[in-house]
Symmetry: D2
Subunit: 302 residues, 4 copies
């Protein structure tokens, strides 16, 4: 992660997240640890899940209120976390370090344009490392934003030579992405199903936008399915990619009203507004460490 | 239909609906017919569906602008409609006649209370003929509103004697409902699956509220299903009842946001707000002749 | 407060709220206090306001996890709270005690019907002590729900004898309400402006529903104002009553879409749906101690 | 207007709009005129306003169903329209002709990026003639999209020389815009108040996005005003520009939920999502001839 040059010391924060089996005293131990070090908590979320017996928290501390840097905080907080058992998952990040993102696209540019705009205005403070396109039509606008664009064509699924070419394309994709070790790999209407080994390699980092209100209309052509069923709202779902198609943990969803006058083409056009928004929100929350995954569900501290 | 005593002549309207195979000149012929009679159109909706090649319209005319009563309008408009082919469906209603409604309930009273309140305030100008309850717990409040309540217990599905008792219960239900020949039979959380012959008998009049955003979570315990999937919105669907469970033409849907902190019980409670609203909206539109059914879809002129 | 007979011991919770000038270590001290007593926190909200330098928290603890009853918790927590300075405000309530509510109404029944329905279904677990009506038209339905109804007519504002009668009516109202010492006095479309002394007496407990999206359309006939301006959404606002008309701390707001086809009468009818919902939500949050007031703003831990 | 090269003849439509004093027979005369020429109506909206006694319609006809071109349609429809009186306003446009748009911006790029993306994806089928910027920071991205960018600095309001420079800047702006005779002049966060003569010259074509839910928070710094009042929703309003600041006819509005945790900076960031959407919707409706203005209100046929 590169330092964010425009974040002054007194606006930097450390973000701590932790999940572990629930018991009494967790909040007290974390709060006590921070208070002993002089830490000023500016934002805190807690969730105790009665169904799973699991505890989740996210805390934001003013960097300048602590007498040590992020590495030492990580070491010390790791010791606290260790006390909550072997299953505990935790993380400490520094908002003064800009996180890396790689986007995967094909031909539909609406999510790409939206994210480029958000990066350009500073609204989404990330380091956009690269865009990889299954087609090359979006390359010019990506480069105009000063971001590297790589064209990796994916032949349609098939046997023999076609299968080999497809496997090679995924290998190229993986190499291009992993070279940046990004905090998020965003399938911004990528339209290719990732092979299981990529789902594993990017688990918890690969984020997809699906153009329906899941679990309705899984798979291909969801707007056609929605039109055929005559629903009165269409939606979009931002979720982590898993090997189980369109069934990964949901980060965010939203809907938009349609009516009998909307053709499939109208739904496609109108649905883009909600796809853009839902992906942008989900990605932001992911990058702000607001999303904690447990099993196939998420806790989102908004 | 009983006359609505509080609708003065100059606020009465005639509502004409028609659907037929689309062609040029339909609007002109209907509009010409009305104009020739001096009819003042105050509201008009048109829909031409390119996918099915079907045309739909709803027109609202000031009753006092026409020189004849509703019966003669029906006869004359029927002649116009006949010109659009044998498949044409049409209807003429008079807003000066209050429509009849029968409600079917079990134990959950939130939709019932809401509809009783809307009738009491005059917001839903209907003639509430009766409420039939699978249980009797809601009888007192129904009677306090001056509406007859009938208790018809439905044994759970089963074989032999149980099956016979269930068949008899549905026969009782049908008799109680059909005695009023209502324009709407509302399953306000009735929780019983209507047998196919009742679905046929009440086709286009039986309205159900399902507590999910269909087609997600068809069948029983939809909030449990939604909780297990970790969706970020829950919904409700108002639809016409058909023999195909939860698959009839959708009239209206809406959603409400939930998050990781919501238990199934929270979803049940919060979902009620959206069930109430969606049912009340769908029922109102049905009673105002705003809903035209074609195949398994609806055209809703809002 | 009367005990809630249907809340088993293991589902009872204590709700602690506190606001005070922000500093480091508050969370740690509260969490430490609870952890030392074995308290199991099931829900916790924190807010640190950089603009005012003020801190707010709401914590929900399982009653059975603590070795003492609510009175002793109050005493002990009061000692902790005292350590945060003289301006600190705090409260401890027991969800096993049902809170008292008095409703004030006039002629429009939509909010009343909605709240009666929510109480009847158990959705709003309150003790509905009484309804006071400026008119008596809603008395029958209130009594059908087993709730006392008092008719206190309010003459329109004026001088001399009329002024005296109005003052006497407010004195009667105050006596009727204060006899129950309710946790909430709900102006469910009461349509009378409370005199300053009642605003003071019921500060933080008197809740009004205003039928516009404040601060738009303050005062009388907001739907007429909205129609004249041609807005595309109308709204409702639930707020605490203060001596400054329609300017008290806002608890909740929501909106509903309207269009050019909606007359003022349509807006009135459609707006009721949003008034009902916004009032019910705001009242629930107030009764669940989710609303903390600071100056003219609220912190709402949803 | 330039022809749209990618619209095949059989997908072209003619859009007719008309408003006039209401009377019986208008629908019949328009429908009869179209039917006599073989016109196939695919979309039709009617509105009869009881408050003003005015009638509004928008009709969409398949171009290939008529035996004449748009110019002859205009002439013939103009004769029909003349029969409805001298106050009648009407228009006929051809969806095969791409409409021209000029954007005015300053430094905030979120609306600009959004509109550029919509044009690039073909979602907003316009001819983007030019962007004029009060500052030049957004020039590079505009030019990367192949659109001319003109930098016209506007000194702040003042007397003497400053006043003169400002007047000259507005004259330059007018010349740059009028050179394209655009169907829409979009103030995409332009942050300058247009002088009355420009409001008049561009009446019904100049479209502004205001970052509040008007009429709340007119004027400068609306998010600061919203934060101070503690509202629970913030909004955006797309309206026609008139000489009366922020008081022109409203085309579209929408809102987004905020809470106590949102600072003014958060509101600014989150509000952008709603500004983008509301402006894009309003502009689309304007360009599709869906917006008819009457007095200070709009009829929007969606």
């Amino acid at each position: 992660m590169a330092p964010v040059p425009d974040v002054p010391r007194d606006e930097r924060h450390f973000v701590l997240t932790l999940s572990c089996p629930d018991t009494t005293g967790i909040v007290a131990r974390i709060a006590g640890f921070l208070a002993d070090a002089g830490g000023w908590i500016v934002e805190a979320g807690y969730h105790s899940d009665p169904a799973t017996g699991w505890f989740f928290t996210r805390q934001v501390v003013r960097a300048e209120s602590l007498p040590f840097a992020v590495d030492e905080l990580r070491e010390r907080f790791g010791q606290v976390a260790a006390g909550f058992g072997a299953e505990t998952q935790w993380q400490v990040t520094d908002t003064g370090e800009r996180k890396g993102v790689v986007l995967l696209v094909t031909a539909e540019g609406h999510c790409l344009h939206d994210l480029l705009g958000r990066v350009a205005t500073g609204e989404l403070p990330v380091r956009l490392d690269a865009v990889v396109g299954n087609q090359d039509g979006l390359g010019d606008i990506v480069r105009a934003h000063g971001v590297p664009f790589h064209h990796v064509p994916f032949p349609p699924p098939g046997n023999g030579r076609r299968h080999g070419a497809r496997t090679a394309a995924f290998a190229d994709l993986r190499e291009l992405v992993d070279a940046h070790d990004p905090e998020a790999v965003v399938l911004a209407r990528f339209m290719q199903i990732l092979p299981p080994e990529l789902c594993r390699a990017w688990a918890g980092r690969a984020i997809n936008i699906h153009h329906s209100f899941l679990p309705s209309f899984v798979g291909a052509r969801p707007y056609h399915q929605a039109h055929a069923r005559g629903v009165k709202l269409i939606g979009a779902t931002c979720h982590y990619v898993t090997a189980d198609l369109d069934a990964g943990p949901i980060i965010e969803q939203d809907v938009i009203r349609v009516d009998h006058g909307d053709t499939v083409a109208d739904m496609v056009r109108r649905g883009r507004d909600i796809e853009r928004l839902v992906l942008a929100r989900g990605l932001r929350w992911h990058l702000e460490d607001r999303v904690l995954v447990h099993g196939n569900k998420t806790v989102v501290f908004r």
